[in-house]
């Protein structure tokens, strides 16, 4: 979502130029080097802009919608390849669609997110829907391997059991459900991933795919915590 900025196209263009340099188009190197500080600065600014949270409260209060409530924890969608619909539109896609996650994005709002306290939003040792509202959904458009096990293409619910140093990531076949009413008899797969600390804290829960040598990594990040789920497939 929201990746269609002119700046991003410029950054992509610049990146393409850099790749072409590696293919020995030397005159472009000079251009890249000359513009490097500006583009890098532009990308940093872009990252800053993207990190600025929208004032969801103000949106919600100005919206007098009689039909569908404007959600406090809005939904979002992440594709792999990253920005697949945009890549496809620009004829830059080479692998086809592999995965997408549909999740809702709760906000930290000065709350303690992960802890042992039952008052925390995500209590250690308890299942968490990886988002808000509906259970988070992940689609695989081809067979993939996660934690050494083959996962057939299809739609799954993905949830986790957070702990201080590791999260158990679970795929489940009980689709189209709300919240934490998880039916563990329909678990397809469980795998454990380590927790990494991050600073500064991330206000909005985020799930995005990243390129990885043997497939893609699904990054799940909120507050001062992030985890990465490796998803393997042949590229």
């Amino acid at each position: 979502m929201q990746f269609g900025t002119v700046l991003e196209y410029l950054c992509q263009y610049h990146c393409n130029l850099n790749c072409m340099f590696l293919k020995k188009i030397t005159w472009r190197v000079l251009f890249c080097c000359a513009t490097f500080p500006f583009v890098l600065n532009g990308c940093r600014q872009q990252a800053d802009v993207k990190r600025t949270p929208v004032q969801v409260d103000s949106l919600a209060t100005t919206d007098k919608n009689p039909y569908v409530t404007y959600d406090q924890s809005p939904m979002d969608m992440s594709y792999y390849p990253v920005n697949y619909p945009l890549l496809k539109m620009n004829k830059q896609d080479s692998t086809g669609l592999i995965a997408r996650a549909i999740y809702s994005r709760p906000h930290k709002k000065n709350r303690t997110i992960f802890s042992y306290s039952p008052q925390s939003l995500c209590q250690y040792g308890k299942e968490w829907r990886l988002g808000a509202n509906e259970a988070t959904e992940i689609d695989f458009f081809r067979n993939v391997i996660i934690g050494g096990k083959t996962v057939s293409k299809g739609t799954y619910v993905i949830y986790c059991i957070p702990e201080p140093d590791k999260w158990t990531i679970v795929l489940n076949s009980n689709l189209y459900t709300w919240g934490l009413h998880t039916d563990t008899t329909k678990d397809i797969l469980r795998t454990i991933v380590p927790v990494q600390r991050q600073s500064p804290a991330l206000e909005d829960f985020t799930m995005v795919f990243m390129d990885a040598p043997e497939g893609a990594d699904l990054l799940m990040a909120w507050d001062n915590v992030k985890t990465v789920l490796p998803i393997n497939f042949s590229k």
Binding site: H14, L40, K50, V54, N65, D76, P85, V208
Partner: protein, 187 residues
């Protein structure tokens, strides 16, 4: 010369590396949402209140009016519109349905609209996971159906899509500003 080459390579490598870092997306100004038919199916399911199976869902983004004139200005009359923002809107049927007399098999589709002052043409198209309507391809249409526009007395700030039960089947409703259209879907 080699040292210069190495230095330049390092510089470019750093640059490439900076792009490979994850850009954490901010909360979208036109956030995504899902509507189910039966309405609130996911909630009903966990409350054991489901009385009929899941039939359809729509995944769309919700732009805001923000004091703009929507139809005939921001959304031009006579042009294909993605029915939302960002990615083109997706509709999924979990069983075969009929729209305007045309059979639609269960599965995922992209849904577009061509708004006009008095009617919209609703389009069901089989090109999936696409952005906007920039690459809309009419050859991939499953069906087109004209539906009348009804004018509402109040203005709706954020674009809304939702299902309603009807005498034969249900309707998919799209409301924004003071315009509303209803697409009849039968089972």
């Amino acid at each position: 010369m080699k040292k210069v080459f190495l230095a330049v390579s390092l510089c470019v490598a750093c640059c490439v590396n900076s792009f490979s870092q994850v850009v954490v997306p901010a909360v979208d100004k036109s956030p995504l949402d899902i509507s189910y038919y039966p309405n609130n199916f996911a909630l009903l399911k966990i409350q054991d209140k489901v009385t009929e199976p899941l039939i359809a869902r729509v995944i769309y983004s919700r732009p805001q009016k923000n004091n703009r004139t929507i139809f005939g200005d921001l959304i031009e009359y006579g042009k294909v519109w993605r029915l939302g923002a960002n990615e083109a809107t997706e509709i999924e049927f979990f069983q075969n349905v009929k729209i305007g007399g045309t059979a639609v098999k269960k599965g995922r589709y992209t849904i577009y609209g061509i708004p006009n002052a008095d009617k919209w043409t609703i389009i069901i198209n089989k090109e999936l996971d696409t952005w906007g309507s920039f690459k809309y391809d009419q050859k991939k249409d499953i069906l087109r159906l004209d539906v009348p526009v009804t004018k509402e007395t109040t203005s709706t700030e954020s674009f809304s899509m939702f299902f309603e039960k009807a005498t034969t089947g249900f309707t998919l409703n799209a409301v924004w500003d003071s315009s509303r259209v209803s697409l009849p879907i039968s089972l």
